[in-house]
């Protein structure tokens, strides 16, 4: 995997999320599920958003797709800038419903954890893919069905000519996820958002799907925003990584840099919670992060990780820390890394 050595301006950015805040309003108060999220996705790149439950990773992807449960969920601030195929820039945070309908599918598509809930059980998979093609590009149903079959072949579904006439329930979980990918690719989107696409699958099937996504990306040059809780999957598929905790980005880095030099105490904690080869070889114990992920309706003041952080002091709760550059193309939202980071950046 490659670390991005280019500067931000040199990167061919397709999707730029800037200061995104998505809050949910209810009688119990305001849930700040996404509270200031910034990242760029470059052409042909896979960016992983990694986090635990309540980190805001899924709400971030739903905000980009314009699929928030309204009116409870609202984008309160920030921009979601998408560069379309013609080079025109759209702010999806402000886009009308009509614009979003045009962009979804054609420019950005999404696949979910559980394909069964996203596929219509009453239509054959061929009809569902053909419908998307006709909707976006027009043409005859017969031509669209032929393309649907070709798409099923492209995602390596065996006996596609027969499978195109099957219903979702006739397929296994792995096959349904391939159908979802075929559906997402129907209009050649430039960005694919994959929200925990392999979490419900067995490990041998997960390996097949990751392999397929890598191959499709190499063929089409699409960008992938890969949302996951699994650091093993991150290491397998990502070029760059954004780590989220309680609604905020706490660290972003190239994938090698993140695993070699995790900088935010939360990222470091997360990596010492999983049995890595090094830990197993040294026969050390796992070092859990104490406590629990905070509730989004009752976030701690200042740094939201402070109550669980081994380095926390009074300063940490005084204000929300900024994302600080610690190395080229590597940032961490922690005031404790400031001193050592200054030293490293000046050396760089």
């Amino acid at each position: 995997m490659h670390d991005t050595m280019q500067t931000q301006s040199e990167r061919d950015v397709v999707l730029s999320v800037q200061g995104l805040k998505t809050w949910f309003h209810s009688r119990d108060g305001v849930a700040k599920s996404v509270d200031g999220v910034t990242f760029d996705l470059a052409r042909g790149e896979t960016l992983a958003i990694v986090g635990e439950s309540g980190s805001g990773k899924s709400v971030t992807s739903l905000s980009i797709m314009g699929l928030l449960a309204k009116p409870a969920g609202r984008i309160e601030a920030g921009k979601i800038l998408l560069r379309d195929r013609k080079g025109q820039e759209h702010d999806l945070a402000q886009a009308s419903a009509a614009t979003m309908r045009r962009i979804r599918g054609a420019e950005i598509a999404m696949i979910f954890q559980e394909p069964m809930t996203s596929l219509n059980p009453l239509y054959t998979v061929g009809d569902q893919i053909a419908e998307a093609i006709v909707q976006h590009e027009g043409g005859t149903k017969a031509a669209a069905l032929r393309r649907a079959q070709a798409l099923l072949e492209r995602v390596e579904i065996p006996a596609a000519a027969r499978r195109v006439n099957e219903y979702p329930h006739q397929m296994s979980g792995g096959m349904r996820q391939r159908v979802m990918i075929a559906l997402a690719l129907a209009c050649n989107p430039s960005v694919l958002i994959a929200d925990e696409p392999t979490t419900a699958l067995d490990v041998t099937v997960q390996a097949q799907i990751l392999d397929l996504l890598r191959r499709l990306q190499a063929e089409s040059g699409m960008s992938i925003l890969f949302v996951t809780h699994n650091l093993g999957v991150v290491a397998e598929i990502a070029h760059r990584v954004v780590v989220m905790y309680a609604g905020r980005v706490v660290e972003d880095a190239g994938v090698n840099d993140l695993f070699d030099r995790p900088t935010h105490p939360y990222t470091q904690g997360l990596l010492s919670c999983i049995p890595t080869a090094a830990l197993l070889a040294s026969r050390q114990r796992l070092a859990p992060i104490p406590g629990n992920v905070p509730s989004v309706t009752a976030l701690p003041a200042g740094c939201t990780f402070a109550p669980r952080c081994p380095l926390a002091s009074a300063q940490c709760t005084a204000a929300v820390p900024e994302l600080i550059p610690v190395r080229p193309a590597h940032h961490a939202r922690c005031i404790k890394v400031l001193a050592s980071a200054d030293a490293e950046v000046s050396h760089a």
Binding site: V203, T204, A207, L231, G232, V233, F259, I274, L286
Partner: protein
Amino acid sequence: MSTLMNAPQPQAAAPLLSVQGLTVHFPTGSSRNAPVVRAVEDVSFDVPHRSIVGLVGESGSGKTTTGRALLRLIKPTAGKVLFDGQDISGLDEARMLPWRRRMQIVFQDPYASLNPRMTVAEIIGEALDTHKLAQDRRDGRIRELLERVGLNADHRKRYPHEFSGGQRQRIGIARALAVEPDFIVADEPVSALDVSVQAQVLNLLQDLQRDLGLTMLFVAHDLAVVDYLCDEVVVMYLGRVMERGPTRLVYEAPRHPYTQALLSAAPVPDPRAPRQRILLKGEIPSPMNPPSGCVFRTRCPHADARCAEATPPQRDLGQGHYAACVRIDEITP
């Protein structure tokens, strides 16, 4: 043979649990000719005293059914389950009760396995009452158990919904420990938990095993977690044991093609790790109509005509390592 030779072995040497030819079939209808789901087929393995044995496999492998059948939560169709030398597979409910005190289970889903209308004290107390334990100091025992699993004993009057997922799993563990069991089946106990909370529960299970001298069967699909926690591992596929042995031996030198593929498919949290992945074709076949011979042969990269002929026997590879593959010498010399 002398009578001395036939005498029972000292208990420390014999395994606490010995599963022999365990088979579980589920009928799919009431008719006598209804097809059966062959969930578990001729499964054998031992769980030595004070060890943790991992039972791994993908969905449909039969690992969960095996765990439940050996606790008699599901009635086995055939086979023996020797617990402390006694076959418990055919006991009726009344005769089973004293054995139930010695063998407990921790479930995967801490949200579904605790009664939402009972307080934590009632949940744990119920286990004590069923087996008439600590009746004179019930509350003290409940407090002790909660503290043992890292919960605040003052919270015992609270209901399950007032706790987080990780805390609920601790309540489930306290309930299992309440009756002072010798043996625990932990069925995917951390799969539903966040990564940072998983590590807390894994370390707790490890501490309890060591401090209380427990014997454990750890049912899981996460191979890294099994590597971390288990002394021995049993790998299942479509109802059968493919390979078993000491965890280090199996992980460092897997001999069965399925184990090789499974281990190579597991994502490694290291972007620089060498990846020589064996990508299996297709998916697990239906347990209603498993392939003849070796059940893995339809996805196996090494399968040939012999593999369809007969179920491969468990080959003894030494040091307690077994694999069921007829081509083992050709593929891993």
